[in-house]
Amino acid sequence: MSISDAGAPVDTGDGTSRALLQLTDVVKYFTVRQGLLAATHTVHAVDGITLNIFEGETLGVVGESGCGKSTLARVVVGLLRPDSGSVELGGTDIHAGDSDAASARRKLQMVFQDPAGSLNPRLSVLDSVAEPLHARGMRRTDDRVFEALDLVGLKAEYAHRLPHQLSGGQQQRACIARALISEARVVVHDEAVSALDISLQAQVLNLLRDLQDRLGLTYVFISHDLATVQTISTRIAVMYLGKVVELSPARRFHERPLHPYSVALRSAVPVPHPAVERARARILLRGDVPSPLAPPSGCRFNTRCPLAQDICREAEPPLTEHAPGQWAACHFAGRFDRTLSAIREQPHDGTAS
């Protein structure tokens, strides 16, 4: 399991050091039954994650499908109750079930990937954005909705339109307005720009940055797209099969990622420079991500890791601090630079094992 002080207060480089949101050893499993009479299996979606999220920062979470990043998002905003462990906002356990927990949860909001799917097609933008106020028993005040729409750059004339009368980018702005209207302090973005076209992605990312500056928001930005995460994040957490395998300040992550999976992930992303693409050797990981139903023993990455040794199959490496603020869960973290560059030179057929 993770070390309890993983992600302890560090200087993130932006002068933010007070932990606003604290995740302590969060575990979330799902039980599934495959086939009618078959035995039940357990999906290890989130398997012991300890993280501190600091006021005003953007924590980027990257990983491939099935790594547990969306489950983590839902646990953080209170949509899912963890099996064990806790999520605390400013010291209040958001899953405690009392009125303090309810008011803490209100400060945690979420923006989803598919804006069309997260807006009621029969409600106008005005009604959708007003819903969080309504849910709190507040008398609906249109003024506040127009204020929120203005904040996200939607003109007042859009307030009376239905979702299908808006473009994807405008719909996502409406979703952001809805997340902000109940005075959110932490907004969790789960693939919030992934469905948007490139030109609109840039607009929405800029908007998120503006809102963060203006309102002092804290973001958890979850995405499979490493380039986007690297642009917007202060710190980056890399997830693999329910675990955080690396947690680093974004600058350090760019200069020198510590975990072999982080290195491979970065290497897999094609960059928009033809000459660079032709020149570089890529680290191709073999095979697929193992099933979270039966994660490998020892280090979960050992089945695909180009550097795996016997110890990696036997002992699970804890998440430990290798450089100031830079944590990794690897027996050979930061000690593999030479080995990896040797692997890069090898021809690789890219086929699965």
Binding site: S199, A202, D225, H254, P272, L284, T351
Partner: protein, 341 residues
């Protein structure tokens, strides 16, 4: 490119006759694909890139219709073929790989059966055993281990990346000359995407096939394409060799698109963004279609520009580029950075 083009598309127009109006999805598109070449067709959603691909395959369904143009494959106009002749082209000389492998495979049939069918549909006198032999060979070539056994599995027994390999194997069954791949790696995780890109590149080189790669991912374009056509609002706005396009874009849309990509260099900064939204294709803007969003627009842009070959070999649909101006050194502060619209 002195060779005869494999595919020659000229003045293609495809429209959708919807209740709310006529959508001019593809509005006068012309391009060539040469043997063995990879042409990237890039653009945002609604730019007409997928409809162009579906038009080449003549798979545009009602209320859509190809209203003008020609599509010649090795000199034969596909628009003049009858249904049976066209059926032989699809999966024969031209095959496809789509974004979601699960929808390209029948979930109720073993994958070996589905691959056999691809052979038998094009070999009327073919035998089951010949078909299976070919299927096993193709599964091996896309890196499926123990192909004989795995051919008896159903699609759901494979992972997403493996399913896409199977779809690629199926496309290869009849030694096509051209593969049309529409966002083939978009639904895959990045480490799997890298594997599939590698596989596609190897197969294309080994079998000397041409590829039309439709994608919005400029990284994938940089990695795979020889030449790129950029589409905006139903038209090709720029066409250039891949290095040329990225180094010296000759259309403001291409320039702005490349500038707005998130990258490590832009960490912590505002991204240059293209202002506004893509046009409504029932009523595209008069004149140059990019004019309402273009930072360089002038009075002359009220006239629609033609797609013209420039001195450097790039084709551009921009009046400003056509009088010799370049954009690579322009200040991207011209783009929308301060306050999102």
């Amino acid at each position: 490119m002195t060779s005869q083009p494999l595919l020659r598309v000229r003045d293609l127009e495809t429209r959708f006759y919807a209740d709310f109006g006529v959508v001019r999805a593809v509005d006068g598109v012309s391009f060539d694909v040469h043997p063995g070449e990879t042409l990237g067709l890039v653009g945002e959603s609604g730019s007409g890139k997928s409809v162009t691909a579906m038009s080449i395959l003549r798979l545009v369904g009602s209320p859509g219709r190809i209203v003008a143009g020609s599509i010649e494959l090795e000199g034969v106009d596909l628009l003049g073929l009858d249904a049976e002749e066209m059926r032989r082209v699809r999966g024969g000389q031209i095959s496809t790989v789509f974004q979601n492998p699960m929808t390209a495979l029948n979930p109720a049939l073993r994958i070996g059966w589905q691959l056999d069918e691809a052979h038998l549909a094009h070999h009327r006198d073919g035998t089951k055993s010949a078909a299976r032999e070919k299927a096993i060979e193709m599964l091996r070539s896309v890196g499926i281990a123990e192909a004989e056994t795995r051919a008896e599995s159903y699609p759901h027994e494979y992972s997403g990346g493996m399913r896409q390999r199977i779809v690629i194997a199926m496309g290869m069954m009849n030694n096509p000359k051209l593969i049309i791949a529409d966002e083939p790696t978009t639904a895959l995780d990045v480490t799997i995407q890298a594997q599939v890109i590698d596989l596609l590149k190897r197969l294309i080189a080994d079998h000397d096939m041409a590829l039309i790669l439709i994608t919005h991912n400029m990284g994938v374009v940089a990695n795979m394409c020889d030449r790129v056509a950029v589409m905006y609002a139903g038209q090709i706005v720029e066409e250039a060799p891949v290095d040329k396009l990225f180094d010296d874009p000759r259309h403001p849309y291409t320039w702005a698109l490349l500038r707005s990509l998130p990258s490590i260099e832009t960490r912590g900064e505002r991204l240059p963004a293209i202002p506004g939204f893509p046009p409504d294709m029932t009523n595209p803007p008069e004149g140059c279609r990019f004019r309402p969003r273009c930072p360089f627009a002038e009075d002359v842009c009220e006239e629609p520009p033609p797609l013209v070959m420039l001195d450097d070999g790039t084709k551009s649909r921009c009046w400003i580029a056509q009088r010799g101006e370049t954009f690579a050194d322009r200040d991207d502060r011209l783009l929308h950075r301060d306050k999102p619209a």
